[in-house]
């Protein structure tokens, strides 16, 4: 037995060592760079620089874009997750497989092919041109960037909501109906509250990558809609200003931690009960 417990204790140690070296240490480096200047002296100037109107605008824009993309994903995903959950088990399996399949394709190339669709001389406008409509200007607009986010992260919203919905006990719904609920109130009072955990994890999985993306805004926004991700990437890859980039990453982490805590608080305390 002694030997066994020793093994048990030791089993997690590679993971602990790895986490310290490659999760904790890198984050310490981010903080170190965020609070120092180019010569390594302690300073807050990287953060005061972020309070310029233009950077504030970038942060606000990123939050807004990610927020809208998340809301849109939720609105689009919820009904489809619900419909899939209502289908026969065999169909369900196939439909979910079809939802996941696009995620196996490289997301860069899928976003790139949206460019071919949305351009002024692109496929959609050529198609509309046959009927004498257009061309409608779509690419390099805020809408195109949000569309890219919704497209790329929609499956991340569908899957958790579906997995919660498919586990909802049908007898609960029957009971609600028996007690006099109409189909609409069954959904709002029973199904929806039960699916809150799925919604929460879906929101997290869409919001976090949306707010930090840089490829989508570059390709579909034409460089006119800089987001936090673009700005961070530029500091590290071309401007060579690690300190500013690190402070921006630090703020980005804070935004995410704060919004997740607020959301989880709702989920833990009241969540389903509120609604």
């Amino acid at each position: 037995m002694n030997k066994k417990s020793l093994i048990q204790k030791a089993a997690a140690s590679p993971h602990i060592v790895w986490s310290v070296l490659f999760i904790i240490a890198p984050l310490i480096f981010v903080m170190y760079y965020a609070f120092t200047d180019k010569d390594g002296n302690f300073t807050f100037s990287n953060f005061t620089e972020l309070f310029q109107a233009s950077y504030l605008e970038i942060f606000m824009r990123s939050v807004c874009f990610a927020f809208l993309a998340t809301v849109l994903c939720l609105i689009i995903a919820y009904p489809i997750a619900y419909f899939i959950a209502k289908a026969k088990p065999k169909t369900q399996k196939i439909l979910i497989m079809l939802v996941m399949l696009p995620m196996w394709m490289n997301f860069l190339i899928r976003t790139y092919s949206w460019m071919a669709l949305l351009e002024d001389t692109g496929i959609i406008n050529t198609f509309l041109g046959i009927f004498g409509i257009g061309p409608i200007h779509m690419i390099n607009t805020a809408g195109a960037v949000i569309l890219g986010m919704v497209y790329n992260y929609l499956p991340y919203m569908i899957i958790p909501i579906h997995s919660v919905l498919s586990k909802v006990d049908n007898r609960l719904l029957e009971a609600a109906a028996d007690l006099g609920s109409n189909p609409f109130t069954v959904i709002t009072k029973v199904v929806f509250p039960l699916s809150v955990p799925g919604i929460i994890s879906g929101i997290t999985m869409v919001f976090v990558p949306s707010i930090s993306t840089f490829y989508i805004s570059q390709k579909l926004g034409g460089g006119n809609f800089d987001l936090i991700g673009d700005t961070i990437e530029r500091q590290f890859q071309t401007a060579y200003n690690y300190n500013l980039g690190a402070s921006m990453s630090f703020v980005l982490m804070l935004i995410i931690i704060v919004s997740m805590t607020i959301m989880n608080k709702y989920a833990d305390d009241d969540g389903g009960v509120i609604i």
């Binding site: 986490s19 009904p79 399949l101 001389t121 390099n140 034409g222 006119n224 800089d226 071309t238 690190a246």
Partner: protein, 704 residues
Amino acid sequence: MKKTSKIYTSLIFIFLYLPIAVLILFSFNSSNSTNSMAGFSFKWYKELFSDGATLLALRNTLILAILSAIIATVIGTLAAYGISRMKNKHVKNTILTVNNIPMMNPEIVVGISMMLLFVFVGRMINTSSTLGFGTVLIAHVTFNIPYVVLSVMPKFKQMDRHLPEAALDLGCTPFQSFYKVEMPQIISGVISGFIMAFTLSIDDFIISYFTIGSGFETLPIRIYSMTKKRVTPDMYALSALIFLSILILLIISNFTGNSNTVKDKKPVTLKQKKTKRIVIASTFAAIAVITGAVFISTATAETVVVNVYNWGEYISDGSNDSYDSIGAFEEYYSDVLTEEKGHKVKVQVNYTTFTSNEDLYAKMKSGVGGYDVIVPSDYMIERLKNEGLIQPLDLNNIPNYKYIKDQFKKPFYDNGEETYSVMYTYGIVGIIYNTKYVDEADIGGWDLLWNNKYSGHILQFNNARDAFGSAMYKLGISVNNATETEWRTALGELKKQKPLVQSYVMDEIYNKLESEEAWIGAYYAGDALTMMYNNENLAFYYPKNQKGEFATNIFADAMCIPAGVDSESKKHAEAFINFMLSEEAAIANAEYIYYGSPNSLVTENSDYKEYLGDDYYVIYDPDIENNIDTLFSGYAYRNLSADKLALLNNLWEELKVDSSSFSGGIYIISGVIALGITGFIVFCYVNKVRRRRMYWSKNAKNSK
């Protein structure tokens, strides 16, 4: 209801599959366009299997995914075991919280945090090549582990703790108890963790992007550098093949999965158990054999590696039946070394690309790129030289240097005693425009890029020096000696231009101009010729300033060797430079990129002259060739002083984040939605409180 749900579901699936359908359609395109179909052909599928770099990237991606998934599965499974048996709650929670960090943190933050670590370690141990396969592997394992832990943990939690004890009591050794009792219960979690890790690793771009260095390119990274210029349809063909194989795999697994659930009702026979075990064992064996084979194949011969960092599509690489200069060098130099050393030596060139001098500088400065040959432009060479980031060349190892024409031998950026660079190409920045849409009356100056008439169809450089250059040439400001006020004037000019600009581009300009998505853009003259071959409506001119004088940038790109390269690798790098100056390679490269060549073997070659036809006199305009010194001194960018560089960076940042083109609509919409959601939550909350109060007051009355 049923019908609407079906329509809705199919609409969403159309949305999800539209881009994939487009991609598959264009993989059968007979031209190389990715937005107009010219005809049906299988040519890109054929091309794919001769595209060595793409296949290598595919191989790298698979190796990386398999290795990182295996390591993450081992560490993650052990960790799940250890954590689930932990008694101290606080320790357990702390470990799990840390474990969740890579999943919750935005990928870009994970990427840059690891990059900062690697850069720091690289500086500590003073090596110039930290970033590479090892660092990407570490990064991938790091973001894979949490997913493995999360999929294995529940299995350990579900398992009855007394089972292994019972097994031990009944005489099993600890190993047997693990293998016979615990293993079967967790294996499904382990496998799904492994698959998840494998998938994440294959698809990862952002984290690899920040932790990758020279000499190792994964498929997503290759696709990324391609989307910066143009994605050739062979990449679409590869994606279509990947899509098809995953589809087949899923169908098979779905099919077998179904048959399993039917069988589950019957007791599992020993034979089925055996076949299942055989399947699992053979899968693992196959994986082991593949990884082993890869290791052996890379370890059999002594391999000399030359890491080359060049501009995108800036070498004849064998595509479209062109001469493969890299392959030819590998073959040639391998023979040379084999003869010299008396045993088989393999030469491998790792060729990666950058899109601007500033990209290159950031990589060089971080000191972890590990490049042996780089090809910066004039002003950047001056800067790299001043900062000690490149080293003098030994011209004895580059005998072909004698073919460089005299006027290109001591250019302004490298005219000291020692030679730091060998010129690769030179050229002039011109304005390319589409004759179909642009009035001949409007052309001639830089003003065209500021012309309201073409708003939304103008492209601007996506790098600070060239973009500011265009404004400064327009206004007649000296690009090298401008005062701070003058720099700010140029910024004002660029801000004025921003609402007219369709997008800020580098090599994406090819696709945008050729497909007529954009009509006007400034770019390097050689590239203008390439575009004109692909779309005959395009034309170009050398722009004038507002006073009507010739005013544009003339540039040279040259091969250099970074300072950190040791003497052994330097010799190989010099051999590479020398080979690129040899007749066949130099001509092939010049034919491929259409820039001016400083090499007399090229310019005097009659086949080359014939190949270019009239364009020969566009590229080698005698006015330019004979006055190259005055042109360089009058019109080339020079390295700026440190404070001017900082200023330029700040102003560029200011331009990029300037939001004159941005409408407030989005803010209003999101504000309204946010208000709505808060209002709804508050409403529900108030309602709940009221209901609770009513309930309580009723209860109070009743109890009275």
